[in-house]
C-alpha cells in the first residue's frame, strides 16, 4: 500500500481548524529594505545540493507525470 502523503487530522488539529478566525489588522514589520537576493552558489555546490535533496527527499521530486504537465502547449518562436 502506498504510504500516506499527508498527515491525518487529529482532534488537536480539528481544534485549530475550528478556532475563530483572527483579526485581519496585522502589525506587520516593514520589509521594504529586506535583501532581495537569495544566496548564489557555485555550480559544483548546486550539483551537490541537488544530489543531497534527491537522496533525502526522493518522494518530493516531481514525478514524470507532473513534469509533463508543465510543458508549454504553444511553440516558442523568435
Amino acid at each position: 500500500m502506498e504510504p500516506a502523503k499527508y498527515t491525518k487530522p487529529t482532534s488537536e488539529s480539528s481544534e485549530l481548524r475550528d478556532a475563530p478566525l483572527p483579526s485581519l489588522d496585522f502589525e506587520l514589520p516593514d520589509w521594504s529594505d529586506a535583501p532581495r537576493n537569495p544566496p548564489r552558489v557555485s555550480i559544483a555546490t548546486m550539483l551537490e545540493r541537488n544530489r543531497q535533496t534527491r537522496r533525502m527527499f526522493p518522494t518530493g521530486i516531481r514525478t514524470a507525470e507532473e513534469r509533463w504537465e508543465r510543458k508549454c502547449g504553444e511553440e516558442f518562436r523568435l
Binding site: R36, N37, P38, P39, R40, V41, S42, I43, A44, T45, M46, L47, R49, N50, R51, T53, R54, I61, R62, A64, E66, R67, W68, E69, R70, K71, C72, G73, E74, E75, F76, R77, L78
Partner: protein, 173 residues
Amino acid sequence: MELKDFIELGEQEPQLRFMVIGGWAVAAHGHTRSTYDVDFMVSKADREAWRIRVDEAGLACFSEQEQFAQFTQSDGDGFDLMFTAPETFEQMWPLSKEYDFNGTVARVPCLDHMLALKLHAIKQALPHRTSQDMEDVELMIIRNDVDLKSARYKELFLKYGTREIYETYLRIL
C-alpha cells in the same frame, strides 16, 4: 546520468547541437536554485538523431509530442528535449554563450533569449510553474542589472509576455 552526462551525449561524434535551457541555464545567468531535470533546446532538424542517441544511452521515453520529448531513468535527473523550429534555433545559436558547468562546457541561450523563453512560459499561465518562472525572471533581471524601463526590454516583455507581466515586474523591482 546527470548534467555532464547529458552534455557528453551531445558531444559524441557526430556532434549534435543543443543549448542547455531550464534551471541550469537560469543558473548560468546568475540564479542558482534547485533543479532535478536537464532541459536541452534542439532543432527540429536534429530530432531523429537526438532520439536515436538518447535511446542508445538507455533512457526511457516517458512521453513525446511535436515540441517535447521527456525521458526518465530509474535513478537520476529527468531529461527533456525541447524541439524548436530550425529558423528559431539558427537565430539563437550564434548569440548563445558557452558556460562552464563545473568542468563540462555547454552553450546556453543569451540572457535576452532566456528571458523570452521564460516570458513565453509565464504568458501561458501553466499551473504549477508560473511562480518559479516568475522568480527566475526576477532574479535574472536583478543579477544581470537589466534596465526594465529601457525600450529594448519593454519591447521584449511585451512581445513574449504581456503588458500585465511587464507592469508586474516594473512594480516589484
